[in-house]
Each structure stands twice: as structure tokens, then as C-alpha cells.
Symmetry: D2
Subunit: 340 residues, 4 copies
């Protein structure tokens, strides 16, 4: 199976190149970037020098790519809006497309327009494009050939929360989510706010109260809860390269035992979600460089809240690792292939 | 005026030595530590080599210190429990004592016992020992000679929240507080969990749901609200040396204009609290090394919550800087003396 | 093939466990530690939770281990002195032993005694134990069953310098080496000097002028140069978790073209050494998490010196990665097996 | 006395604003920047919110500034070349000018042209503009009204080395200097190479073998040695915000006692240079935020070299702090005024 990474100039693109270069069932056959076409991948991603050999960035327009018979699966690491320009012809040509952008994450075009400031670029494809966190989805999605890979914050939120909402173990009203992301969450953005001396030794909130990922979080939580689920979502920047630490406060509608039973049932046999005992705290360092999520919870009898903490590597389980996990599951490879 | 720092071996002690060495109205006349007695301060605090000259650590027991006529004011940078052993004789001897421990922060001895696991060591002194965040207290406290200096997390919480609770602009029920502290919050603790490679690139919660500072936060918030105020307080460690970033979600009981009017009235003319416009985010880096708090808020019409963010330097406005600010105000020095 | 990691409580041990758990040709069958015996590996190394399953630390004395027929190869991640206590019976029992300690690195027992402050614990084994940087050694070593895996600083020094000394392209006299190591170079040492707040934002030298690794560097450089080679070696700590950056100043005895020709010939086909063009600077970040060394050089006509820079991950190419590379080569596995 | 900071948009400018705002003998009366004119200083330098009040950036051309009778002393925090455009008219108007650029550091216009790629912009001023590290200069410079403030690397090198070269305690030939700078050494440069994720956890050399500061280092060392002094200077970037760590290897031409006697004589009574005992290692963290240099040395009998280490804060003793120290000394203020 031959894979292509489209728009590989950022950090998620780099992780895709890393993972696919080492993947036992896939050949990384093309890496594209408008701005980097013609450059050796090894020069742009020096951390991958030992993996990428002589591979070069290419630039091909969507139609040309769609016509290439040697390419089977496409990972889109493109900005929203642009992703659709590729997804449409590739999908029409029968290719498998795993999209890491926001274009197919929201099922409501109205919400998309509200949060992304533009009309949805490909509404006709939405029905065909399941949104998949593999540990939370049933197997139906595997027949799709266009798959929306979830965002980083949303993954850290949904993994612990969706099973509890589905089973009514937490109440959907009044949920408060605080998330802290490493700076790579902003991608390879070159701006004063992201230079080393501005971010080092710095913690700050941003984008409150209506960060773009809120739309995706709420749409999915409401689907799980079969109820309105208006959450307070507070994203922050933390002085580290990678990792998301999410802390969720939700009203209990069951016991801590119920909560753990739900998690244990949901994640039994899932290699990439680790349920930690109550009172043990997930640490971003422990999942950095892995596709794993660690989750845990305590119950506070004083407030009748659960306090749930989860950690992921924003570039792996929050983006490229999860994308490769989707590939593995769709094509029947080992779920962990290329991901250990 | 001659000052002594008692128990100066930790980071708060070091900041006290730094601030008092530069203070225009005070002479740092004694620095004590059981474990370090006889050592030059410059060797233990090499960052202060240019400030401390030949000063040495001494060890004197509380009675001896209380009898010294050359010492006027004592800063206690001691563990809870131990602080009382010094505070009592010093207070009886008519000295001014500014205590950075938890011993006189809580007015309820029952709560003290519950959170600190021991009977209160000096309940007879509690009535004489006001708990003072200077921007929030009326001037009465200045006549006290034993003053409880607030904790780091509690300062970051109370500064923005107390005025709003007093004026009923937020509802006291259902408040959720997430705080992220630099590693110096754990002091100079030598333990595997605090070595560089364990904390670097690491974010994690701890001590949930009942961190010791919760007791102090709730006692003060309830006093401000004249109502029960059971909060969810989630402390975390962040990969930086200094700083606390606190994010508070509270139900609105007034408009954002009301909130800002309350803050502006409370903090007008206060040199160490800076009210930032809504949509502008306080950053720990901007207050690091200062005695300043920056605070800001947004209103979310979707949830009817305010989201309030505050930042301080945990060792300065959260400990030693605030202690010196108390000294300045009590003795009529410029509020900013030695603190700019 | 079944492997055991002996003394796995430190960071090198953790890397060995990580690498061997993923190795396609090896089963990690035992992980030992005196202090951790009985504990699940997943609890002690939470970053490896998805890799180690139910594996537990055991404690077995050397004789018992030597008698186990199910174990084929032993990695010793033990302090010097202690390593010999295991190496000797394991070697006598015909096991393959890859020793990451200093015990078999020096061929001179006098130098060992001088630098390590004790008589050599197993001088009778020295002749049987080759010191091997695989890119620099001829294939003879593969028949040995006790192999000394080089130290981190020495690897960063020898990779670029040994070929040049062998071919006389630099002069052996007057070499100056400055190295900067991430804090994991000190292992999991719990001491005040290694807590986060002491090392963050801190650069300092240490152990000058006679760091233990100097003995190993000089013995090997002299062997390469067939001449005395007394170097100035200046180790430093840098505020990062992993990585060594080494900068070598050596008198030119040939042209920059000669230097690059030597390197290109030495490292052609070697997957783990990357020769960068002159004027391009190796970066620890680019090799972090890999078994790769990046090297480069400039010539300064003003001083007639080469300035050579090299970077490695101190825990991988500087320790555990190189150890697995030795395993791969000795047993005819792909050189990169388990190391990409 | 009224001071102006010209070109205050970078990190050195920010430090000047900080120091001058707190200075007991100086009023900061103007802060200029072409790009920021009209903006409140507090918005651009949020860390200084409590210090700068309503002060705004202005833009005035050099002639207008020179005509202002209310301004006495000007700090130029401008790029080389541009600094001369201001220095010339200000000097002609009889103002005191302390220039932090390279324009007046080199006395050889040929060397300036070679290293800075342009003809010297104001050669007629060179004779009037002494280059001053205050601890190393005799008092004559105080009558000058245009003063060249040394660079950061050069200060870290000259402080320990100039006394030794003057007294012949080290040999001028064959000196090797390795320096590691925090990222603020690159100023507030917005470029991919300086974004957080590229610099965090990264050590690398750059600009070898002929960094611009080499010209300044060699000119000064040769002046001290009365001899040729061609050094190898290797600058590097370290993953921290502030600080320079410099390690110098120089052939001994005297004993370690001679070296320390020279330093002790040179730095006796100097508040900002701290001589540490041999075997004690200067640490950037200990001088961060101060105007202090810490220096130390060991002697290696094996190589007959001294290994000298020094640390400074690149933005303070390496730039703005030293500039204020020059102001203090020139005008007879306490040397430490505004600098503790």
C-alpha cells in the first residue's frame, strides 16, 4: 500500500512522515508541499534524516494526484478549506483519504460557518465522511473512504467523557474543561508570540470563550449524551513542546465505581487508552512521543463532581498518530502497526 | 528597622533575603536556619552573592530571638506547626511577626486539623492574627503585630474573586478553579518527582480534590460572599520555575461591565494589581520576578459564566513579595519600597 | 532470543526496556533491580505502559541468572564495580553480555584505578572484552561475548575524531573538547543539584579538568593516533532532558576536503552517522529520540584549526541505543532493528 | 538627569527601560521606536506594566532629538549602522551617548568593514568613543561623551582574560573559547529558527568560525596582550532565555595562584565581578537577572592549560546593565545605582 502525505510542511506532517516511513505495511510514496516542492525531505525535517533517504517534496495539484494509480491512501495535513480542494477529487477517484483538517469534523455546516468564518467548502461530502475516534466509534466507519480525524483538544476531552455521557454517568449540563497545550499545538507558526523567549516560562489562556475546537467538542458530546451539552472550554498554552493536559469537571450522575466500570468496559483491549487508578495523575511526559492517552478521575463528595484528567501527545494521539491508527484499523493491519 | 528571616533555607526564604537586602527602609540583620547555621548566605544563595556580603546563617531558638533588642520584625519562612513555635514567644515579646506558613491563615481550628492533620499549635493567637491580602483588606489589620501572609494559590484566586463575591457579581455556588504552578511551588524539595527530567516537558494535576490551600480559599471566599462557597479546586504542576496561572469559571450574577467596574474600583491606585481588558490574557511570564498580579475576564453568553484568569509569581505576590508589601504598609513605608 | 536488562532502575535502563520491547528479533524476558523487585515495570516507567504489559522487576543474584537457560543476552545497566559482579559469572556461563558500565571500557587497570578510585574488579576479563563503537571497529569484535559499550561523551567525541586521527588529518596534540549534556546524563539522581528549579535556565561546567570519561576518551584517541593524545575535556550541564552537543577544536593536518573524504569513507552505508556539510550545524534536537549522530566541521584559516561539532542522544547513541546496535550486529540482525 | 532610550523595541531596549524606570538618579523621559511610535510602552512590554505608567513610544529623528534641551543622556539600542545616524548629531550637540551597537566598538575601520560588510558609518567619531568594560578600564574614559558599550560574548570573555593577558599569566597564542548563549541573544527576531519548538531542548553551534563578536574580542585581547591574539571562538545557542556561559582554554604562563592574585587585585571592590574558588563552577542561573559576572578557573597539569569559566546575563552585564553601570560611573552615581 502506497501512502501520500499532502501538505507536509508542519509538525503534524512531519509526524506523519516519521510514522509512515517506519510503518511495516505501508510505503511512503509521496510527500507534497507547495512551498517546499523540490527540496529533500531530510533537509526540511532533519530529525528524520535516517528515515527518509532521498525523498523529495513534490507539488501536484489535486487532479493529478487523484489520477495517480500508484497512490492508495492520502493523509491531508492541510488548513481547513484547502483540505476540501484535495479531498473532493481524491474521494471521487476512489482513493482513501484521512483528513486531519477541520473540514469534515463538523456535521453542521452552520456551525462550521460560524466557527471557521466561511461557507463549508464541500457539504456534499459530509455524509460520507465519518468523524472517528477509534476507541469510541463502532466498526461501521471502516467502510468509509473519507475519514475525519479529530482535533487534539477534542480527542483529549472525548476519550474520557463520551463513554460517561453515553451511559449517563455524568450530567451533560455545566461541564467545565481546562486544557493546556504544548506550543506545537500552534504548528510551525512563525510569529512573535511563538518565539522561544515569549513562550518559555510562560503560561497563559487564549481564545476564550469560543475556541474553534469547542464546536467539535460540543457536537460530539451532544451526540453521546442525546442532550444539549454546552461546555465551558478554556484552552491555554504551556511552556513545553508537546502534550495536552485536560482537566474536566462534571457533575456526577453515578458513583466513581460506575465511572471506572464504564471506562474499563470501553477501553478493554484498546492498546492506546490507559485507565489509571483514582488518585493517580496522568502526566503529559508519560505519553509524549506515543499514541497513548492516559486518563483518571476522582470524585469530590463536597461538590458532587468528578474531576477527570487526561493527557495525550497533541501531535500523535491528537493528530498524526490517530490518523495512522485509523489507517491500521480500516485496512486490517495490527492496530499498533508503526505506532509503538 | 532591623529584620530577621527565620527558616530561610527554601525558595521563599531566598526571595525574602533578596528583597530585604535591597529594601531602602530595612536592614536585614539576621537569617536563620537550623540546618545551615554557620554557612555564609552567599554560598547557599549564590544568586544573591552581590547582595548579602558576609552575612551568615545563624541558629537561635525562639526564646533567644525574642529577647534580642536589635531585631524588630520577623519573617517566618517555616513549615506549618514549626512557625507557631516561633510566633508565640516573638508575639509575647512585642515583636512584629509576618508569618508565611499556614499556621494563622485559617480561623477555624477544626478545618486546620482536618487539612493539616494535627491540632492547631497556637489557637490562642488566632484572634490576634489577621489574614491579609493588602488590596482586599481594610486598614484595621495594620495595628496587628502578628500577620498571616496568604498562600500562593489562594492569592491568585482571591484577588479577582473576592471583590466580585462581596458585591454579588458572581454567584458563590459552583465555582471551578484550575491552577497551574511552576515547580518552585514545591519549594526546594529534593525528591524524584522534582528532578529536572521528571518535570521538564511535563504537565500534570495533583492533590485533587482536596489540596490544603482549598481550606484557605473557601474560608476567605465564604467570608466575602456571606454564603457557602464550595469550590472545585484543581492544582497542577507546569514545566517552569515560577508563576501561577489560575483560571476561574463562575456563574455571572451581573454584567461584564459590572465586573470590570468592581475591579477598577477595588484596584484603583493599587500598584500591584493590573486589570487587563477583556480578551487580553494574563501571562505568567509578564509577572515573573515582580510582585504584580494581572487579571482579566471574559463573559460567555452561551453558559452565562465569567471566565476569569489571573497570574502571579508564586514566590513574590504569592509569598515573599506580599510579605514585604505587608511590612511596607504596616510601617507606613511606600507600598512599593523594595518591590520594584 | 531472550534478553534481560540488569539494573534497570535508571534512564538508560528505561531506554533499554523501551527498545527491547519493540525489537523484532528479541524477547525482553527479564528486567531486574534490587530496589524495585516485585514492582510492575509499568508503574516505574509509566512512559512505557503500552509496551511492557504485566512485566515485573525481579531480583536474582548473578549466579542464579547465569544458570537460567532461558536467557541468552544480558544488558548490564549497573554502576561500575557492580557490573563486574554480574559480568564474571554470566561470561563464565557462556552468556552474551553487553555492559554499559565503565568496567570494561579501559584497558589499563592503572588508569581505571586512578579515575574510579578502586582496584579494577575483574582484570582477568579485560582481554576478552572489546570496547566497540560499531562504526569505528572492525568486525572482529563480533566473536566476543562480553562487550564494553562506550560512554556518552566518548561516543560523541570518537565518532568524528577517530577516523581523522587514524588517517593523520588532525594533529593529536592540543585538542580541546567542550561538551554539553542534557540533565539525564546524571541519571535519575535525586539530589538538590538536579531538581528542576536548579537546572532549568542553567548552564554550568563541572568536573573539570579530569572527568571520568576523559580516561576513556584519551585511551581510545591514542589508540587511533598511535601517539600521545592529551586532550582538554570540558563537560557542562545544559538545561534540557536529553542530548549531547560536542565541539572539538583540533589542529588541521590536511584540508577540509581530506576531512570530509575521511568521514564519507568511514560512514558510507552506516545508518546511524550522518555527515552534514561544512557550515551546517548539528542540533541535539534533531537526534533526540534517535540512535543517530550528526557531525560537521569547518576549517578556520586564521588558526589552522578544524572546528568539529557532533550531537547525539546521550541515552541512545550514547548508551542504550548503541548497546542494541551492538546486539544487532553481533547476531546478524538488521543494524537498525528496533532502532528506527 | 533625563534619559532617552532610542530604538527600544528589542529585549535590550526593554531591559534599559526597566533599569532606568527604577533608577534613583535618572528620569526616563523618552522611549523611541520607529515601528512602535504612538503605542503605550506598557502594551509592548507587559512585564513592565507596574513601572512605566502612561509612557508612550515616540519617533523623533536624530536632529530633533539632538535639539531637545530636556534630554541629557541617550542610550542607543539600535542596529549597527543606524546607531551612527543618531550618535553623530547627538554627540555634536554635546549630549552623552551610550551606544549598545557595534558601531564604536572596533577601532579598526578595516576590521569593521570586513565583519559588518559595510564601510564604517562614522569613522570621524571613533577616536572620541572609548570602548569600556568598567572593571577593566582606567578612569580616563569618564570624560568621554560617546561611549561604546561592549557586546555580550566579548564581556564574558574579556572580564576573566584581559587581566591575565595584561600580566602575562596566560599565553596569547592558541586560546580556545566556547560560548553558549540563551536565545534572547538573538533579540526579538521572528524567524522559524527561533520559534519555541525549534529551540526548546536544542543545543547547536552557529556562525563558526568567524562570528562578528570575534573581531571585538580579538581587538581587545591584543590590546591587553600587546601581542597577536588569534582565538578560536565557538558560539552556540542553548535552550534557555537568558545567560551566557563561556569556557576558555588558555596556555598557562604562571601558576593558578598567580591567576587568582591577578583577578583578586583587578576585581577587589568591584561589585559586579565575583571571583569563585577554583573547582567551583559559575552557573548562568546565579547571575540571571543581575549585572554580575561570576568567574572561576582550574589548572590542568596534564595539558598546562587553565580552563576558565565565566557567566553573565547577556541582556544585563552583556548589554543594558553594563550600559547603566557606565552611566553611573560617568556621572558619579553609586556604581550599583538601579542595578541591585
Amino acid at each position: 500500500m502506497n501512502a501520500a502525505v499532502i501538505g507536509a510542511s508542519g509538525y503534524s506532517g512531519e509526524e506523519l512522515v516519521r510514522l509512515l516511513s517506519r510503518h511495516p505495511n505501508v510505503t511512503l510514496a509521496a510527500v507534497t508541499s507547495r512551498s517546499l516542492a523540490g527540496k529533500p525531505v531530510a533537509d526540511v525535517m532533519p530529525a528524520l534524516r535516517h528515515l527518509v533517504g532521498e525523498l523529495e517534496f513534490t507539488h501536484s495539484d489535486p487532479v493529478v494526484l487523484a489520477a495517480r494509480e500508484d497512490l492508495d491512501v492520502f493523509f491531508l495535513a492541510l488548513p481547513h478549506g484547502v483540505a476540501s480542494e484535495y479531498a473532493d477529487p481524491l474521494f471521487q477517484a476512489g482513493k482513501t483519504v484521512i483528513d486531519l483538517s477541520a473540514d469534515f469534523r463538523l456535521k453542521s455546516t452552520a456551525v462550521y460557518e460560524q466557527y471557521y468564518g466561511q461557507a463549508h467548502p464541500a457539504p456534499h461530502l459530509l455524509a460520507a465522511a465519518p468523524y472517528v475516534i477509534p476507541e469510541l466509534a463502532d466498526d461501521q466507519w471502516k467502510s468509509a473512504s473519507l475519514i475525519a480525524c479529530p482535533g487534539c483538544y477534542p480527542t483529549s476531552v472525548q476519550l474520557p467523557l463520551v463513554p460517561l455521557l453515553k451511559q449517563g454517568i455524568v450530567k451533560p449540563a455545566g461541564i467545565v474543561i481546562n486544557s493546556y497545550s504544548g506550543v506545537s499545538g500552534a504548528g510551525r507558526t512563525v510569529a512573535e508570540d511563538f518565539i522561544y523567549c515569549e513562550r518559555n516560562e510562560s503560561m497563559k489562556g487564549y481564545g476564550m470563550p469560543k475556541h474553534r475546537h469547542l464546536s467539535e467538542i460540543e457536537e460530539q458530546l451532544e451526540k453521546a449524551a442525546f442532550a444539549d451539552c454546552i461546555v465551558q472550554f478554556n484552552p491555554h498554552l504551556a511552556p513545553m513542546s508537546r502534550g495536552i493536559s485536560t482537566t474536566i469537571v462534571a457533575k456526577a450522575n453515578g458513583s466513581l465505581d460506575n465511572l471506572y466500570a464504564s471506562w474499563n468496559a470501553t477501553f478493554a483491549g484498546k492498546p492506546f487508552v490507559n485507565v489509571l487508578p483514582s488518585g493517580s495523575y496522568p502526566d503529559t511526559k508519560h505519553v509524549s512521543g506515543t499514541n497513548r492517552a492516559d486518563i483518571s478521575a476522582v470524585y469530590d463528595p463536597r461538590t458532587d463532581n468528578f474531576v477527570i484528567t487526561s493527557v495525550i501527545d497533541n501531535l500523535l494521539k491528537g493528530a498524526s498518530g490517530q490518523a495512522v491508527q485509523l489507517l491500521n484499523l480500516k485496512f486490517g493491519f495490527a492496530e499498533t502497526a508503526g505506532l509503538l
